[in-house]
Amino acid sequence: MSLADNSPITFSYREELTHEEHHVPMILSAIENLAFSSHPTGEYVVTAFAALSISNGGQPIGDYTAQTRISRPYGEYSQPTHKELDDAARAAVRREIDRKLDAETTRLAASLGETE
């Protein structure tokens, strides 16, 4: 996508989420719940990967990738939703891309200025 139909500057952004779940076996969960009721009985893990490419007239001028991993335990008394973890992972990976982009602002502006 680009900021305007006739703009030579284009942005390509891709985001991927990967999910993992770790569950304590049921028989162990039952014993643990009797013994330590606040003990986690499993964990959700979400890995977010993002890639941003910026081109000027087809010429790449910036390429950024970031990856974050968010994990939350669940137990007898509480359980996060997958949506909460997905949202947190997305926010974290976008912050990381923003941080990398911010650090490159001067170089990107100069690179665009050279072509004008």
């Binding site: 569950h23 049921m26 669940y74 008394y77 939703t81 997958h82 949506k83 997905d86």
Partner: protein
């Protein structure tokens, strides 16, 4: 006498466990219209929480899935939220493209009742697991 008791106990256990599993047609892939996604929600058989069948909602459709059953939600491409609620709730947002997605429903221990979970699954693992599930009548 002991052997009679064992037979009765085994028969009782078989009746109880068989009574919990869903009965229905074996897995059959469904077709979706153009620009629609298919979300298979399946629940591998487990005796744990087998008496719980909370409603699983994807988009505007809602289905109670029994242990050992699955349901295919056919939804228009775009953002879809799948949700299940019991003692706790779980929710998954899917940016659905016209392809197939799999969610596995399972239950973790809760205080008074099981906690339902909707776990996004890889196709290769899910395709194997769903073969042992029947269509939710």
């Amino acid at each position: 006498m002991k052997s009679h008791l064992a037979i009765v106990a085994a028969a009782g256990l078989a009746l109880v466990t068989a009574g919990c599993a869903a009965q229905g047609k074996p897995f059959e892939p469904v077709n979706a219209p153009l620009n629609h996604a298919i979300i298979y929600v399946y629940r591998p058989y487990s005796y744990n929480s087998s008496l719980l069948h909370p409603a699983v909602q994807c988009g505007s459709e809602s289905v109670h899935i029994r242990p050992g059953a699955y349901h295919a939600f056919v939804v228009p491409a775009g953002r879809v939220t799948c949700r299940v609620e019991g003692e706790t709730a779980d929710e998954v947002d899917i940016d659905a493209e016209p392809r197939i997605y799999y969610l596995q429903e399972r239950f973790a221990f809760g205080v008074l009742s099981g906690h339902p979970q909707l776990n996004p699954m890889d196709s290769d693992e899910a395709q194997t697991e769903i073969q042992s599930c029947v269509q939710q009548p």
